[in-house]
């Protein structure tokens, strides 16, 4: 088991290294001179220009810049913002650092059991009106993009009924709509998979055996069937989280939430490359870390994966 863990953790290194190289190169590919943009009206001031160039490390050779870029990242220093002179990127994104992963994880924590519940319900009542109804809701939940859904939600609950605030962040009421928008597509996706896996499991021999020997339906579902749908479901948590991270970009933009997603979008428009790239790196690391945890956890659940060394 230990070698399995070590092997998987080492597998992260090339991915993160490539992410670091890509973001560094993207920072270099900036169209125009960021220092000139910062100087703007004081463009003749050679002393200030030299000082800024030194502060941003742009006066050093490329390789040296790259080494200090990596060193900085390892100690939580993502360089300085191009938009706000000499403001550290880490300070700028500090607030969002908690909001976005927390929102994504909270949505996952609610969507996962909700999705499994809906999927299981549809599967055990296959082809009934319950199944048909759930499937219709799922198709809509998966197909309608969350920003289109947001249009409807905001219109009804914030503008017509006035139950919920239109935007903002900080109170429970303000978190309801953003979280709902993250949960709906996620739960729908999980429910669809869960229904498929459950239908497969219900057709297996060991379920027929359990039924034949008189195991009560409820016990059979919980102890035998549900458990065996969990491994394939867990393997998709990575994909689901990828979708949730994309969702946070949209939801944060709509509701003016000061998270990493909306910061990244603002930074793209302000050509604040160090901020964009820092957020790209953080998201990649977060995503890779979660996928690692998922890998490890289904290694624990399914011994075949540990021994066989993974069956991609």
């Amino acid at each position: 088991m230990l070698t399995f863990i070590v092997k998987r953790v080492m597998g992260l290194v090339p991915v993160l290294l490539i992410a670091v190289i890509l973001t560094f190169l993207a920072n270099q590919a900036v169209p125009g001179d960021p220092i000139a943009a910062l100087l703007s009206d004081r463009s003749g001031d050679a002393v200030l220009e030299a000082r800024l160039r030194a502060a941003y490390g742009l006066d050093r050779p490329l390789l040296e810049q790259f080494i200090s870029y990596i060193g900085g990242i390892l100690s939580g220093d993502f360089g300085l913002s191009f938009r706000f002179a000499q403001m550290p990127v880490s300070q700028l994104i500090g607030e969002g650092l908690l909001i976005t992963p927390l929102m994504a994880l909270a949505a996952l924590a609610i969507a996962f059991p909700l999705g499994v519940l809906l999927g299981t319900l549809a599967a055990i009542r296959q082809n009934s009106w319950v199944d048909t109804g759930i499937i219709l809701v799922l198709v809509a939940g998966i197909s309608i993009p969350n920003f289109a859904m947001a249009t409807g939600l905001v219109y009804v609950f914030a503008l017509q009924l006035r139950w919920l605030p239109v935007a903002g962040w900080g109170s429970v009421e303000q978190a309801i709509m953003p979280l709902t928008l993250l949960i709906i597509p996620t739960a729908a996706y999980i429910a669809r998979l869960s229904r498929t896996y459950m239908l497969e499991v219900l057709r297996t021999d060991y379920i027929r055996t359990a039924r034949a020997k008189g195991v009560p339906e409820r016990v059979m579902l919980l102890r035998h069937a549900l458990r065996n749908t969990m491994v394939p479901l867990l393997t998709t948590v990575g994909i689901i989280l990828g979708g949730l991270l994309s969702g946070t970009f949209v939801v944060e933009t709509i509701f003016n939430i000061p998270g990493l997603g909306s910061l990244a979008i603002q930074a793209i428009f302000a050509r604040d490359y160090p901020v964009t790239m820092a957020i790209v790196l953080l998201f990649t690391a977060f995503y890779a870390g979660i996928n690692l945890l998922v890998d490890l956890s289904y290694g624990l659940l399914d011994p075949r994966i540990r021994v066989g060394g993974g069956g991609r």
């Binding site: 309608i144 920003f147 219109y155 933009t253 490359y273």
Partner: protein
């Protein structure tokens, strides 16, 4: 003429067509998709105004006889823009599908059929791209080469081909051991001919299913990028961009956001239902529900 008619009639009464017509998802999906494709191809003919005609005298007109779906902040006709938006959406989807299938199927077949270092190189690249969240890669591309329609196509193709390559490789791997491939090899058939004439037709149907499911996701991804402002740029109308513009004035003028959300929702639901239906038809294992 009679020949064509009897051919059509044979197709209509064939087993596959019969099962297609009995499949609810496939039928509803294909009707919605036909509608969207018709609008994408010919919608321009029905547009009452040029999509980019600005008229500051009629800003934020509500839906009515003159402007069927009202006007936007610049007095442009929303109905005309939604019609043209279908064309942009389908254009991006078709480009991304074409690019990713050419790259993904070619590389996937090479990796699966030849194995060895080519397989390792291709699959390592695929793994690395998979390690990034999709939208993050798209944002990286947008940050480096700037925003616009081309960026959307490049970014989504970059994100999309690895999945196609992986699917193709696994399909080829499972067919490579078949007797007819052995027969082709031992009778000295050129590898390129084996790939194109013997393997490709046999892996086509799962790839077609993948494509029809893929369109829904590509349309959604393009709309998301355009909604965030890093996709297709003004004055070209896109549903994602129109929803963003409409969201700001939802309180006073909800028609812009609501109609464009509806257009986008119908399109993606249509492609997803068609994809689900085709999967039921082509994949007997999943079809026996």
């Amino acid at each position: 003429m009679a020949g064509i008619f009897s051919r059509l009639s044979a197709v209509w009464h064939s087993d596959l067509a019969l099962r297609f017509r009995r499949n609810r998802n496939a039928m509803i999906g294909s009707i919605l998709v036909s509608l969207v494709l018709f609008v994408a191809l010919f919608g321009g003919l029905f547009a009452p105004y040029p999509y980019d005609r600005i008229n500051m005298a009629v800003i934020w007109e509500p839906p009515g006889a003159e402007f069927l779906m009202g006007t936007d902040a610049l007095g442009r006709d929303v109905f005309s823009r939604i019609l043209i938006g279908a064309r942009i959406s389908m254009l991006v989807a078709a480009s991304v599908l074409a690019i990713t299938f050419v790259i993904g199927v070619t590389l996937g077949m090479i990796a699966g059929y030849f194995g060895g270092w080519a397989d390792t190189l291709i699959m390592r690249t695929v793994d690395i791209i998979f390690a990034f969240p999709e939208l993050i890669l798209a944002i990286l591309v947008a940050a480096v080469i700037g925003t616009g329609t081309g960026t959307v196509i490049v970014a989504l193709s970059l994100v999309w081909w690895p999945g196609i390559a992986r699917l193709t490789r696994s399909l080829v791997l499972s067919l490579r051991e078949e007797m007819y491939i052995d027969a082709a090899i031992s009778s000295g058939t050129h590898p390129a001919r084996i790939l194109l004439r013997h393997l490709l037709p046999n892996i086509a149907s799962p790839l077609i299913v993948r494509a029809s499911v893929g369109v829904g996701f590509i349309v959604m991804a393009e709309a998301t990028l355009s909604f965030l402002g890093i996709g297709v740029q003004e004055p070209t109308p896109t549903w994602g961009g129109m929803i963003r513009d409409g969201l700001d004035s939802l309180r006073t003028d909800p028609h812009l956001a609501l109609y464009s959300s509806l257009a986008l929702g119908i399109t993606i639901i249509g492609f997803n239902m068609l994809g689900d239906g085709l999967r039921d038809l082509f994949d007997p294992k999943m079809g026996e529900r």
